[in-house]
Symmetry: C2
């Protein structure tokens, strides 16, 4: 009986277990993932976001955002993003190359209905995120569905590295039906 | 007496405490940081790296790499990188915009001397990292100083968000002498 990280299907299952736990559990390693984009100046930008959805069958993950955040402007210019998770429990590094689609207004309404009230306060801050202010608390939160958006991230490529006693690395591509192959770590 | 996250100097000190712990402690939140770059295709790339140095006075952090890794090729083309840490203990998100300089050969020799022998095995894998292989373990590690490089990351801008009962966000810039100012979270 091999360990989960010793086979390509095992690693693939480990990936989606990791992501599902991130959506479900506040203390899971994949709760906070890093989303990297290309900034408006052409340089890299990256920030932590909360993982809100993971659909293994569709190969899609979701995060929520304020429409006025810099990442939305960046993704409208270049919809490519990279997502990274370090799962210390599994000793697994997850790297996803994704294509991002923005859902807002009616398309996001059903998802907004499921956002708990305290979390809704994250969408609709005044002034807009990133504006300089004199005091740390010189801003107001006001839940506003009109500034809520869902970033639907369709996976294109996946790179997994298991850092056990030996290192194993595998690459998977949507174009290859997610078959997977081993790579030099 | 205010909490550390309630003042700009307190946040600045918190940043360097977080980074110093990452260098010193294997289980610290900043041990593994995400380094984002612009890929050779112009899209974003990001991966986890181990934080190896943090110099508050110089405003510099360091990571080690294999010269044949993709990030080296990417940084030679565009030396800008973004570094992200999520420190759950401090409830602090750290975002750094850095300019990367590569030290290798003689310039990296003194640092190589301090790399413990097991870690040296990470530099000098054959075939090169990312090469497809038939079996997961079809590669050889052979410590090779010639493929070891230090990425010296000079901080240009810092963005900190403290996610306490209320959220506080501050921006710092080298150009502004790291004075810092509050931003809308």
């Amino acid at each position: 009986m091999s360990e989960w990280f010793e086979t390509l299907p095992g690693l693939w299952t480990g990936l989606w277990d990791c992501l599902a736990e991130g959506v479900a559990r506040r203390d899971a390693p994949a709760r906070h993932v890093v989303l990297a984009t290309v900034g408006l100046d052409g340089g890299p930008e990256a920030r932590t976001v909360v993982l809100r959805g993971a659909d293994a069958d569709a190969g899609v993950i979701e995060v929520h955002t304020d429409l006025h955040s810099a990442k939305v402007a960046e993704l409208r210019r270049d919809g490519r993003a990279a997502v990274v998770v370090w799962d210390g429990e599994r000793r697994l590094q997850v790297r996803l190359s994704v294509a991002v689609t923005e859902l807002q207004g009616d398309a996001a309404a059903a998802i907004w209905e499921q956002v708990p009230d305290p979390s809704r306060q994250s969408y609709g801050v005044v002034p807009a995120p990133g504006t300089p202010i004199a005091g740390a608390l010189d801003y107001e939160k006001c839940a506003d569905r009109a500034t809520f958006a869902v970033l639907r991230c369709e996976l294109r490529r996946v790179d997994l590295v298991h850092l056990g006693e030996v290192h194993r690395r595998a690459g998977f591509a949507r174009a290859g039906g997610w078959a997977g192959r081993w790579l030099v770590p």
